[in-house]
Symmetry: C2
Subunit: 183 residues, 2 copies
């Protein structure tokens, strides 16, 4: 994993991929699958929904730290399977042969098999009680540029997933966003 | 546009497509392009970021109503162009030849050229001041099943856009989510 310019990390979230969320609580690392998240600010700040019924909820609320890992489609099977069991019952890193790597600024681990990882701190919990909505701030980002498979995938919510298809370049049209797209 | 079961409307948002947001304020309809949004609840509830600098901000905050339209890739040019000018200066419906249709429960219009539309009410503004974050509730949903082009597209944030590619069916793996995916 090579460092990714933090000002570019919002681009990992904006397309709306399925991601992994790692936490570390009382010496125990865990990972869950997450699809409900969005950019809030370019710095980046990210909003996400982690349900009270998720085993990771307590870890996230207590430690106020996590890592968002962005998987590519070659590990979609693992990503979906680990989203269908609980860290309460199994060590998911062992069970799904995922490699936790030490992060730099948080205790939650990076995932070696992911395309990219964003170390995050929870900066706002005001909507946690009502909507399970956490506001995170990305504080360090990593990318694996040597990875061959770079296509991410998107949950449809009916048990199907859509893989990234072709890319359309409309840079010339983005007049209003020139500064942002040139970062 | 045919009615879409409201309990399925979250599936329009979960994959993370670029969407259109319409408002109607003081008799004037407007539409903006939006990429920062996510599901919050299946009912559906949706969080989105509408910046104070967007002309639609005032309309959304005042009327507390909007429509989220989901465009397919055949109108990507219009969607990006209308996101690069302001309703302050132009009537975007006229300029980009988009057809506003009357919604049922809100004054903001549906867009005939979209694949689907969700009529929404703003239900929480507590994070508007700090993050420009609105919580919406979908109250009526519409879909155009006769439309040929159904692939949506996703903003990367660098002036490029990724179109929906192939679909992977993992319904059998979604043990924990059986009730949701069968809606």
């Amino acid at each position: 994993m090579k460092e990714l310019l933090l000002a570019r990390a919002f681009r990992l979230i904006e397309p709306g991929p399925v991601v992994l969320l790692t936490t570390s609580h009382k010496g125990k690392a865990n990972v869950m699958t997450m699809s409900w998240l969005m950019d809030v600010e370019f710095t980046p700040q990210i909003a996400c929904i982690v349900s009270e019924s998720d085993y990771s909820f307590k870890a996230l609320r207590s430690t106020k730290e996590c890592v968002i890992g962005i998987p590519a489609v070659d590990i979609i099977g693992k990503v979906i399977d680990l989203g269908n069991c609980s860290g309460k019952d199994v060590n998911k890193f062992t069970k799904f042969k995922l490699t936790p790597l030490p992060a730099e600024k948080v205790k939650a681990p990076l995932i070696a098999e992911c395309l990219a990882n964003i170390e995050c701190r929870v900066i706002d919990t005001i909507l946690v009680k009502k909507y399970n909505l956490f506001i995170l701030e990305g504080i360090k980002a990593w990318i694996d540029n040597n990875r061959k498979e770079k296509r991410t995938f998107h949950a449809v919510g009916d048990g199907t997933f859509v893989v990234d298809g072709r890319r359309i370049n409309l840079k010339k049209k983005m007049v209003k966003w020139k500064e942002i797209i040139n970062i």
